[in-house]
Amino acid sequence: MNNPTLTWNLVHDVHELLAYQFMVNALQAGTIVAVMAAVVGWYMVLRRQSFAGHTTATMAFPGAAGAALAGLPTALGYYLACGIAALAIGRSSTGGRGGAGGRGGRGGESAAIGVVQIAGLALGFLFLSLYSGVLEQLEALLFGTFLGIDRGQVLTLALVALAVLAALAVVGRPLLLASLDPEAASARGVPVRALDVGFLAILGLTVAATSQITGTLLVFALLVAPPAAAQALTPRPGLSLALSVVFALLVMWLGLGVSYFSIYPLGFFITSFGFALYVAAKLARRAADAFRHERRPSEPAPVAVVA
């Protein structure tokens, strides 16, 4: 690869960027992942399930190590491990948010998720030691890569995203109600418990797909920061969901563009842009609240929904 140089002519820069097939692949994969992560992450932030999301993300390690041991493709290990972890969390958190507090309450749930995570990581170590080889691309696994994404991967990502978005399109509205007010939802006959588990499965799929681009440790840059920023800015569900997608695309495209012209890795730029976005949104929220005297400051409006 000849060294890319950034000029002040943006059109020329974008043109140069798109001249390489690997960069086109990266942009397509990044776009797919950003849209999917923004939509699923929006629900995750609303449901306060970031810890569950992070735990499924770490399952990439046992997934990859297990796949190496069994001689399966890495991506398959990813998806399997994430799916199993999502189901384990769904089972062990015993209703979690939905079932009237759940057993052990909030604390019990956080312990259950932590236990699922360490059990997965400990298994990963066992697989790695049994495999007794070097797990290739450890850094790419942890921190992601956007080089060397081939057409097959883009196609797989597109199919996964299609399935995830279609599933969310079907359950989106009852899931929103179940997330905001589980008791009212179950009074109306919404299957809150099934939605809990179903959403965790969707989250697991999304995390597995996202972590192939951003790495397992950095999925939150797309999964948490854009939705949290969007929800800080507006209480209207439809609008903040759209904003979340826009933010995630912005973070992804800017990150890819900048890291192409820089010697430093994509992960740093994506997380930094996500963090800056979140801080800016929080500050904007605070400024708007201070400006409007009717609303009490320091208390951001919760996401409200008119069902």
Partner: protein
């Protein structure tokens, strides 16, 4: 087995790290703060890499970053408890900086990038020298003593923050101290026994203890005891089966204890009600 020096060192360091993790974990689980401890464990290695870039001892970086981040988390949240979104955003950014530092290291003259990452992420309890294990034991013991000295007000603040504040208990300061203590044991534990072990011993024994008893001081002692048994048993098990990594053995025992406790608590809940009125729900801790 004890004739080997590395096993003796592992027992010396492991005993106190396990006690500290089990005790702090009881509070972390009670307060729903396992994610905060988890985040501290994941960012710890960034501190080690930063120290390598600057050229100081990695322990300086580990402690500076975990303690600093613990303070930030405590400062951002209400009742000194950051919510999960804040934790997620902050910790992914710190990891992003870690990625940058790895790149800086590997493009710089020093080299050896992957090795540092691997060592700090996967520090092994069997690789400790005599001096290191004594330092780890001292830090663990100090954390245990500090936690025990604030146990009573911290318990009050955790169970009913508003009532505690009315009684003049410094609720925010106690939340900060708890996170700082978790940060300290994470920083020491990460480079001594591996970040995974610390997180495991924070979450699993405490989760098991809280399912078995709702009496606070017995719960704390039980949590520490389960962590200790998992540590001692895991080291012995891993020594007996060389292909079993010590972290996996120790975590395996701790997770097993958690699973057993979950099953046991379900059986107790299904059993016919005791005559002595309304039993406390599992996991519901009451003020002594």
């Amino acid at each position: 087995m004890l004739a080997h020096e590395f096993i003796r060192n592992a027992y010396v360091a492991g005993t106190f790290v396990a006690l500290a993790s089990g005790l702090l974990g009881w509070f972390a689980v009670l307060r729903g703060q396992v994610f905060a401890g988890d985040a501290l464990g994941h960012v710890a290695f960034v501190g080690a890499i930063a120290a390598a870039v600057v050229g100081v001892d990695e322990r300086v970086g580990l402690f500076a970053l975990t303690l600093g981040l613990a303070a930030v988390m405590a400062g951002l949240g209400r009742r000194a408890q950051a919510n999960d979104v804040t934790i997620g955003v902050v910790f992914s950014w710190v990891l992003g900086i870690g990625v940058l530092l790895i790149a800086v290291l590997s493009t710089g003259s020093s080299g050896g990038d992957g090795l540092i990452v691997a060592n700090t992420l996967f520090g092994s309890i069997f690789g400790l020298g005599a001096g290191q294990s004594l330092v780890a034991a001292a830090v663990g013991l100090g954390v245990v003593l500090a936690a025990m000295s604030i146990a009573r007000p911290l318990l009050f603040a955790s169970l009913d923050g508003e009532l505690a504040a009315l009684h003049g208990v410094p609720v925010r300061a106690l939340g900060l101290v708890l996170l700082l203590l978790i940060g300290a044991v994470t920083a020491e534990g990460t480079q001594a026994v591996g970040a995974l072990l610390v997180l495991g011993l924070i979450a699993a024994p405490a989760g098991a203890a809280l399912r078995l008893t709702c009496r606070p001081y017995i719960g704390m002692a039980l949590s520490g005891a389960i962590a200790l048994v998992a540590m001692w048993g895991g080291i012995a098990l891993s020594y007996a089966l060389p292909s079993l990594p010590p972290s996996t053995a120790i975590i395996g025992l701790a997770v097993g204890a958690y699973a057993l406790a979950s099953v046991a608590s379900k059986i107790v809940v299904w059993a016919p009600k005791r005559k002595s009125g309304h039993p406390a729900a599992v996991g519901e801790v009451r003020l002594p």
